[in-house]
Amino acid sequence: MGTNSAKSGAVLVVGGGIAGIQSSLDLADSGYKVYLLEETPAIGGIMAQLDKTFPTNDCAMCVISPKLVGCGRHLNIDLITNAELMGIEGEAGNFTVKVKKHPRYVDSEKCTGCGACVINCPVTKIIYPVEIDEVELSKKDRDIVDNILEKHVDQQGNLMPVLQEIDKHYSYLPKDVIRYVSTKLEIGITDIYNIATFYNSFSLTPRGRHKVSICMGTTCYVKGSEKLMQRTCEELGVEPGGTTEDLRFTVEGARCIGCCSLAPAIMIDDRVYGRVKLNDLARILKDYE
């Protein structure tokens, strides 16, 4: 044995299934430092997905849960999850391994495991970074929002009407206002964002003074509403769903405004135009400042 034959006193366990977990716990309890390497983002493996185990029909979760917690809390065990073993050198007693750790995009030191990010994913749901400091609203804004809250104070399920009125007043849901509502109604900010991002008619960014809804219902579609959308966007220089730079218009596709007999139809604010022709668009839009 050469110079690197000194025993290291640490063990690497590859694979965080029930076997890896049990081995790690046994080794850690007997005084070894254990590195438990797992390819997926969490340990547990197949057993954590089972209902019962063969042949005794024991409850799988009841068996594995204490061990999962044990692994997580054991001072001698370091979990390396979301990582792969790339190479191994050395000999029994002293190995050097190369591990590739995939990015988690979450700071696992700070994460408390509250699960709020899970509720709000995937993708379309935008999360603002949550700041802990007190919400500072100007007196004017506070009066407006208090007024709205006052109206719905005794109503069961008042979050939706409150958000609708705020959205109507500001033409979008301003971040500070949402946080203020969250503290006032004692509804978690993630729950509010969950609602705010679910519905099409709420917006988290300021919208134009006038909302142009091009009906994309079946009848309008059959009668050429796509061309209307294309022409409107060209006319105003925006993408579908976009807002003009001067905040004059927001152009959106609507899912049927119930005016199918007069297709293709568009709705600007609360006014409906039926049998719209491409060449009418410029004239109609001119009426809105």
Partner: protein, 635 residues
């Protein structure tokens, strides 16, 4: 609020009668969304100006939608002693002539559609008109029931739409309104009421088709301190708008239905969940609810019966899935509006875990009529398993667009070719899409299909909320299937993998086919995928989203094959598969197309034939639409 009793109801009704059939001339303008979209406001304003200017003695009022949306703006004229008359396609200019005629004591003849020799009021009382007096002047004017659009219709849910002023509770009562509520609270037990609704055979008009009486019974049977009633007015299906029309034209019929339902199941609170895209419907509902409150038809101790009930309006915020009942209830509660598990059904545990009964607007509007005229009358209409009438929105490529209420069991051919008077421009009928994104396309070989819940389901479609979009040979079924998948993919809440990812994958394949990149195995894969999504999804949205694809494949597989094998779109719709060119013989060089082409793909000198550069052409079709000489060729 003042207490309501029979005497006061009669008095309100008499007032309504006087305003419906006054001593002087009454002009009413149809001011529902469809009327307004074609300029009813301008017509109304002109009437107002003319009346003010001339001092002519007439009442001007607003009504809802008569259903004949194709010919809006519609104006109704009532002259004492003369049959009621309906005028169509009015404009501010024709109003002037109209008023001139009236001032000269003549009946205006321009734009006159029909006359009524009698009108049916709800409680079997006919208001007859004397036809002798002005007979000469009106000879040649068809009767209402002789107009093809109206001939086969039988109006129950739409009984007041387009006739009464939706802002007048008196006019609603004059036509028999709130009598059903009076009858129920005056001596019917909830059990007898439920039995009556069960016997009528009424089934949910929102699309599910569950027997209404049975649903009420289940809700009543669940032990609880309180129960809720919900009216589903989240009419999200593109192509259907009967609920909007009822709410805009006759909000009290829905409110009365809900109060009766509340009594039947023992609820004290009702919610109307209306989509935000219907601002006018919400406005009229708010007014109607206020009126019901003022007159003691809502609130404590209605009709002195000890029964108290109240209704709140909740607005949606643009999410299609909220039309699904569990999702809708979550939305009212203000929590994440994803669909929940059933069972427990809402009748056991609904809003705030209390038993809840949900019915659609049209269902509620039918209730007062059933109570007044009896279950045996209602069940005498329709087919064996589908009783009564159903409102359809007949739209798309059909001559008469509009809302039609027909007895169940009528054939598609009667609806499209008799009521709708066929396809415009002598094009060929291709298919009719029923039931919105959850429904399917029914081809021409099934035109003689009697319309009821079972038959439509057998044909691979559904009754749904009653949208009926007619398609002609210019419509590509693959493109329509892709359109619906785009819709459902966008509206899928993302809870079930099968729906979220399945719709994504189906959309991807359909898009590929419409772009000419379809693969031979695609159609079979779509069938397999469609079945999987149907089986594995939790709510109605996922369970039915494959229907438009499956039904178009079943009936028009050749069109799919043309796209895939020959890269040809037979209807010339799919952009990637068509080429635009100009017929040099027909082109007059008017430059209209070149000026309208946003891609700058059209070149040519004035008065010389133009050319399309197919590399630059985005195939938007604008040139085809604007050309006055049919010189644009699409291949």
């Amino acid at each position: 609020m003042s207490a309501m009793n029979a005497k006061k109801l009669d008095q309100l009704g008499n007032n309504g009668m006087e305003s419906l059939y006054p001593e002087q001339i009454r002009i009413s303008v149809g001011m529902a969304t469809c009327g307004l979209a074609t300029g009813a406001q301008a017509v109304f304003d002109r009437f107002e100006d003319e009346l003010k200017k001339t001092g002519f003695n007439a009442v001007l009022s607003k009504t809802g939608c008569l259903g004949f949306c194709q010919r809006e703006p519609i104006v109704d004229l009532f002259i004492p002693g003369v049959p009621r008359l309906t005028y169509v396609e009015m404009t501010p200019e024709t109003v002037t002539d109209f008023m001139d005629a009236l001032e000269n004591r003549k009946i205006p003849k321009d734009n006159l559609l029909c006359q009524y020799d009698k009108e049916l009021l709800l409680d079997d009382v006919f208001r007859k008109y004397d036809l002798t007096e002005k007979q000469n002047e009106l000879s040649g004017t068809p009767l209402y029931e002789d107009i093809p659009f109206f001939a086969k219709q039988q109006k129950i849910a739409l009984r007041n739409c387009g006739i009464i002023d939706p802002g007048s509770i008196g006019e609603y009562i004059a036509r028999g309104g709130y009598r059903a509520l009076f009858k129920v609270l005056g001596g019917m037990t909830p059990e007898a009421l439920i039995e009556e609704v069960k016997n009528s055979g009424l089934r949910g008009r929102g699309g599910g088709g569950f027997p209404t009486g049975l649903k009420w019974e289940y809700t009543r049977r669940t032990e609880a301190e309180d129960r809720y009633i919900v009216c589903n007015a989240d009419e999200g299906d593109p192509g259907a708008y009967m609920d909007r029309s009822i709410l805009e034209g006759d909000p009290h019929s829905v409110i009365e239905g809900i109060i009766i339902g509340g009594y039947a199941i023992g609820a004290s609170t009702g919610f109307i969940y209306c989509r935000t895209e219907y601002p006018l419907a919400i406005e009229r509902l708010v007014i109607a609810l206020d009126q019901a409150h003022e007159n003691g038809l809502l609130g404590e101790n209605i009709f002195g019966s000890g029964f108290s009930f109240d209704i709140q309006i909740r607005e949606g915020s643009g999410a299609f899935v909220c039309g699904e009942e569990t999702s809708l209830m979550h939305s009212i509660e203000g929590v994440s509006p994803e669909p929940g598990n059933r069972p427990p059904f809402p009748s056991e545990s609904g809003l705030w875990e209390k038993p809840t009964n949900i019915n659609n607007v049209e269902t509620w509007a039918n209730i007062p009529a059933i109570v007044i005229k009896g279950s045996s009358w209602y069940s005498s209409i329709g087919t064996e398993k589908s009783k009564g009438t159903k409102v359809f929105s007949l739209v798309g490529k059909v001559r008469n667009n509009g809302l039609v209420e027909v007895p169940m069991g009528i054939t598609l051919r009667e609806i499209i070719y008799e009521i709708g008077e066929g396809i415009p421009d002598d094009k060929e009928f291709k298919a009719v899409q029923t039931g919105g994104p959850s429904g399917g396309c029914i081809p021409s070989k099934l035109l003689d299909l009697p319309v009821d819940y079972e038959r439509l389901a057998e044909a691979g479609s559904i009754m749904g909320s009653g949208g009926m979009v007619v398609m002609d040979s210019d419509t590509c079924v693959v493109d329509i299937a892709r359109y619906f998948l785009e819709f459902t993919n966008d509206e899928s809440c993302g809870k079930c993998t099968s729906c979220r990812d399945g719709s994504e994958l189906m959309l991807k394949i359909l898009t590929r086919i419409t772009e000419g990149d379809g693969r031979p195995e695609d159609v079979d894969f779509l069938l397999e995928l469609g079945e999987a999504v149907t089986d594995a999804s939790q709510c109605g949205l996922g369970q039915t989203l494959a229907n438009p694809v499956l039904s178009t494949i079943e009936y028009s597989r050749d069109e799919y094959d043309a796209h895939i094998e020959k890269a040809v779109c037979p209807a010339h719709v799919c952009k990637a598969l068509v080429v635009y060119s100009i017929d040099a013989d027909a082109c007059t060089g008017c430059t209209l197309c070149a000026r309208n082409c946003s891609a700058g793909a059209i070149t040519g000198k004035v008065k010389e034939p133009h050319l399309i550069d197919s590399d630059k052409c985005t195939r938007c079709g604008v040139c085809y639409d604007v050309c006055n000489f049919n010189a644009i060729i699409v291949e």
